[in-house]
């Protein structure tokens, strides 16, 4: 006798599988959307980047480059300098130089310069110094165009939430009609309604936990591989908040639907 099946999963396995798959899909979409929006917001807040360009010219290029770094190290505003890989530079340039093959020799060395936000950075002064060392060397602040995706985000978010709610509403409705005999016979033999509702809540709580467990690695892989987004530091916090809200809303709706369905089943 399979007591767990009798108590918690009286319907066919395919119905529970459909619930798992559809909710996993919706959850992946929902989290990806939220993650993408937060990423966009962070980008918009940090819209400028300081870059250092050093053309590879002259036989004593490496020595002169070290001189430039010596100059920069004297500036207290600069925190660190990170070299960009050649392929990253090529990728950035490919947007402008369509169908042009670039040799590694002509690509300048590019550095991402991290500076203290609070201090005013004097570009003219530094540029003056470094161009004297290597002609064409340049430190420049690049400003990006702000992207305004708030409306699009809220629209997509609302549509997705509506689909999730509607899907789950009809899913529960169909599910309850499929276990109608189970509910009826249980009641005819003295099983309290609250026991049936509690058992169904436990089973769907278990399924929702499975959904959240399977979604986590999928989201991680998807964001990293396809959208080239790295998980935010507070991703686990966001995930937990969504977990609690999703569970609460679903189980609350399930309770109400169960109660209403049982009320309709017989007149007594």
């Amino acid at each position: 006798m399979n007591f767990l099946k009798i108590k918690f999963f009286p319907n066919k396995i395919v119905d529970y599988l459909y619930f798992l798959i559809s909710n996993t899909l919706f959850l992946v979409l929902l989290i990806s959307l939220i993650q993408y929006r937060i990423d966009e917001k962070n980008k918009n807040e940090n819209m400028s980047e300081i870059m250092l360009f050093i053309p590879k010219i002259g036989d004593d290029f490496e020595e002169k480059r070290d001189l430039i770094f010596n100059q920069l190290s004297a500036n207290s505003s600069i925190i660190s300098v990170n070299k960009l890989e050649d392929r990253e530079i090529k990728k950035l340039l490919s947007d402008f130089l369509i169908n042009v093959k670039l040799s590694d020799e002509v690509i300048p060395e590019v550095y991402d310069v991290q500076v203290k936000q609070s201090k005013q950075f004097n570009f003219a002064l530094i540029n003056n110094k470094i161009t004297k060392i290597i002609r064409g060397a340049l430190i420049k602040e690049l400003r990006y165009k702000k992207t305004n995706t708030v409306i699009l985000f809220f629209f997509s978010f609302s549509v997705l939430i509506s689909i999730v709610l509607l899907n789950n509403f009809f899913l529960i409705k169909i599910y309850l009609s499929k276990i109608k005999n189970y509910i009826n016979i249980s009641r005819y033999f003295g099983v309290n309604d609250s026991i049936i509702i509690r058992n169904q809540n436990i089973s769907f709580f278990f399924l929702l936990n499975l959904v959240f467990l399977t979604s986590y690695p999928i989201i991680k892989i998807l964001l990293k591989s396809y959208f080239n987004l790295f998980l935010l530091d507070d991703f686990s916090k966001i995930y937990m908040v969504i977990y609690f809200i999703y569970n609460f809303i679903f189980l609350f709706v399930l309770c109400i639907q169960c109660k209403m369905y049982m009320k309709k089943l017989n007149v007594l």
Binding site: M1, K7, F189, G190, V191
Partner: protein, 218 residues
């Protein structure tokens, strides 16, 4: 104890089947209620089994007026009723064994007690060899017996048997009569709706016929 007070039943199309019936059935008694086809036997069984509401009047079960009870209190009365339906009412996804015991599992009865009750009951009804079968593979008679097993496994205080005996083999009917006697001894009130068993082995305390929308004692 079962008491009907000015009790009336109507069919779904509004036809009056039973009108202003007053009846008292004491605990531990065995009663037969019979009559022609479509005269209201099943509706009466369903009303006493708390599946349907009467059109008018009061129904008292185990000393409580049903109309005054809330859903939770009704559940506790349902707990004391075992019912064999006219139609075979089962869950196709479950095997026969699960169909018989699942209300007990949901009520958190001990697994050991359930297994023991099943072990004692099944040989009486010759169901032990088909217990793992799916219900759609079984005959009408086997399903009726399974319904009977489901109805009595929880030791109800009221047992309602609707059109039960007509499909049952005579040898098994005798065994069922013994089970009914055992239930009587523990104070179960048994009401048989429809035809009685062939050899009339059950000693009915009272017999009623539904006639002219009333219950006449025979």
């Amino acid at each position: 104890m079962i008491r009907l007070e000015n009790f009336s039943l109507e069919s779904s199309n509004g036809r009056k089947l039973i009108k202003d019936v007053n009846l008292f059935i004491p605990s531990g008694s065995t009663v037969l209620i019979y009559g022609k086809h479509s005269i209201g036997k099943t509706m009466l069984a369903r009303a006493i089994g708390l599946l349907d509401k009467p059109a008018y009047g009061n129904l008292y079960l185990l000393g409580k007026s049903i109309s005054k009870l809330n859903r939770s209190e009704l559940s506790s009365i349902h707990n004391e009723i075992g019912i064999v339906f006219q139609e075979n009412y089962f869950i196709n996804e479950f095997d026969l064994e699960t169909n018989i015991i699942f209300p007990l599992i949901l009520k958190n009865e001990r697994n050991k007690d359930i297994s023991q009750a099943l072990k004692e009951l099944l040989p009486w009804l010759s169901l032990e060899n088909i217990i793992k079968e799916k219900v759609y593979n079984l005959s009408i008679a086997e399903l009726k017996l399974a319904q009977f097993a489901r109805a009595i496994i929880g030791r109800p205080r009221i047992l309602l048997l609707d059109s039960f005996f007509k499909d049952i083999d005579k040898n098994i009917q005798k065994k069922i009569n013994y089970l009914i006697l055992a239930l009587k001894k523990i104070g179960t009130t048994i009401i048989v709706f429809g035809d009685p068993p062939d050899d009339m082995a059950i000693n009915f305390n009272k017999k009623y016929i539904i006639y002219n929308k009333g219950l006449l004692e025979r």
